[in-house]
Amino acid sequence: MENILGRVLPEYIEGYGEVKPFSGAFNNLGIKSKKQVSVKCVAPSDVKLVESIKEALIKCEIKDGMTVSFHHHLRNGDYVLNMVMDEIAKMGIKDIRVAASSIFPVHAPLVEHIKNGVVTGIYANYMSGPVAEAVSRGLLKYPAIMHTHGGRARAIESGDLKIDIAFIAAPTCDEYGNINGVYGPSACGSLGYAIPDAMYAGRVVAITDNLVAYPACPIEISQEYVDYIVKVDSIGDPKGIVSGTTKITKDPVGLKIAKMATEVIEASGLLKDGFSFQTGAGGISLAVAKYVRDVMKKNGIKGSFAAGGITGYIVDMFEEGLFEALFDVQCFDLKAVESYRRNVAHQGMSASLYGNPHNKGAVVNRLDVMILGATEIDVNFNVNVTTGSDGVIMGGSGGHSDTAAGSKLAIVVTKLLKGRLPIVVDKVTTVTTPGETVDVIVTERGIAVNPRRQDLLEKLKETNLPIMTIEELKKLAENMVGTPEKIEFDDKVVAVVEYRDGTVIDVVRKVKE
């Protein structure tokens, strides 16, 4: 069958089930139910602190076929997922589904577990590195399921994603399970992605390298959700956890794109008092923050909030009074961690609060402007951030689709050519984010506005910005580098790309070898 975007999907996928085709970004709202959670009650005399991960696994009654979950605040410095999976493998358990909010190169040992049948399924909002390559090569028994950040929270809350045991990497924890991310050698700040796991998993295990006296305040995840606590030597490598200083790119082409994107924001009329904004942590996206900051300072604009993963740069803007508050689902550097610890208005948010379409209103719905990246964008404004130019998985939505859907103005910033490949194409390899939620694409050679946004187009025509149609933009790129040959795929589905509402927006097929 085909979904509304014309993507060909199987009706049923082994290991996934029946496919609900994507039918539009806002077509699946209405009344929704949350799942019931069973709780193993704790008596006053019970002790939650256990000796080892193995003991926790035994107490949680780990068995074949279970789903275990992890969160990715420790990013490429995370030790927890590998420690737990190694223990599970040693115990001879098989057929485990790993529900990790994101998977990074540090999780390479998972590939062995995939090969020997310990791991047969993966849920992730983003994956890069050896695991993503292994999935793309078809090594995983069942197709990986790719969520959005908000979609994962939705899936957990609704019961679509049933977590048997959640493992919380806890930078600081007490013996009764109160957790925070702001203290300890592996401090990572907000624990927003772990919150749905803690609230809805069958069992919750906190793994910490900083066990402190009860109570571990400030409490981000509280004792009422946590079954067991394990103390280990280290939960992560600080070098991989924080990206260090977040620097503005010096690449003149990137800066030009960022400057033009800022002019688009100005022309939209949204950059005024009460402005709300989100952007990514690197490259062109962060450079947009720099130019937005300049305009806000110059014109004395006082914004409402900035949201998302928070960088030191956004903290600077907050501390300069350019924003009243920050909504933080994960901290990208130590400056953000420090600010999150100190400032009450630097507010933590759960993945559900951030982007779940099936709650009573997510923060993304309150965003004026969102700056997004793209690996490819097609003439219908559909964006791919899941697969690379070789068809191999190298990312995923993360918050891409959530923020695009929620924000008033979703701007894709990208170079028109990357590594001699045109970024604007007839049809993207994989649809991550539907074109109906993307308003404008800004490249160094031209800006294209989604025809759905005639209001914005009219405003931009008043400027000196190089406005053109997306077809013209595509032609411009092709005139320079030609049209690349199509990648050939097998029929085998290696990943299912779920939209934030749980419908299937696309599938990733195995690349022909």
Partner: protein, 291 residues
């Protein structure tokens, strides 16, 4: 009128940079085959620049190629290859009147052979020696192709045996001479680049100094310098608003049949009107105001 507030130098052997030359916002780009390219890469750079000129769309950005001196082993080959793909202009290093005359002749032959309009490839002499500075008038008069002079202060101060400083007092005379003679012959006077790309304040001050004595634009060696230079060389909003008022007052005076008129209590005469028209034209060319 062509705006040349900035002329951005780019190495002629860097395909990634050349590909993006036209989108960085400079009014002109100078693809460099001379100092930016080591001896063993001269041939490759020449071919790269030739191919770039014949395939890429520089979309309105003026393309100038700095060839090697025709006194060197590479200059003639540079000229012969590059002129055939018709750059807007050739930047001639350490230019003398003899060099310019000879290049003019060669260009005329190539233009005839290639069917280009005679005289369509322009020239920029680069003044970077004491003798070049003193003979600048003859150099300009050596060819009608000359559309501007670029002052190269690093080589000039080296030739003079004096120290190049952030303040640039040592090139005060050179700047004045270039600015004055260029104005006399109605061609552009392009100031030397500011070498410290991280010193924004220094760049802005240096650009202001150059503009104050009549230089019409400035060479840049990094795309990040472009906006700052443009800021200095573009008319300010205040200037534009005043110019608009002058022109409006002029129109009204014409309607009323007045030859002389005043604005804000001051008499407006021909030079003020000329200046106002120039400001509006520059503002339009710079994209500050719309047509």
């Amino acid at each position: 009128m062509k705006l040349r507030r900035t002329m951005l130098f780019m190495p002629g052997n860097n395909p990634g940079m050349i590909q993006n030359a036209s989108i960085l916002g400079a009014d002109s780009v100078i693809l460099d085959l001379e100092d930016a390219v080591s001896i063993d890469e001269k041939d490759a750079a020449r071919m790269l620049v030739r191919n770039a000129l014949s395939t890429l769309d520089f979309s309105g950005c003026e393309v100038v190629v700095r060839i090697n001196s025709i006194q060197s082993d590479f200059g003639y080959d540079d000229l012969n290859v590059i002129a055939r793909v018709k750059p807007d202009a050739i930047l001639v290093p350490k230019a003398t009147s003899d060099d310019i005359e000879e290049i003019d002749e060669i260009l005329s032959i190539i233009e005839r052979e290639e069917g280009f309009k005679l005289g369509s490839i322009k020239l920029f002499p680069l003044v970077e020696t004491a003798i070049g500075l003193e003979n600048i008038r003859e150099t300009i008069l050596a060819s009608k192709r000359n559309i501007g002079v670029l002052l190269g202060a690093e080589d000039l101060t080296a030739d003079m045996g004096i120290k190049r400083t952030r303040e640039g007092n040592e090139i005060f005379y050179a700047r004045n001479r270039v600015a004055s003679i260029c104005k006399a012959y109605k061609i552009d006077a392009i100031d030397t680049p500011f070498a410290d790309v991280n010193d924004v304040e220094g760049l802005i001050e240096d650009t202001k100094r150059a503009k104050a004595i009549g230089m019409t634009g400035k060479a840049a060696i990094n795309p990040r310098q472009i906006d700052y230079i443009h800021e200095v060389f573009s008319p300010s909003m205040e200037e534009i608003m005043y110019a608009k008022r002058v022109l409006k007052a002029k129109e009204e005076a014409l309607k009323e049949g007045k030859g002389v008129f005043s604005l804000d209590g001051k008499m407006v005469d021909a030079p003020i009107i000329q200046r106002a028209e120039n400001i509006i034209l520059k503002a339009k060319l710079a994209g500050i105001i719309r047509e």
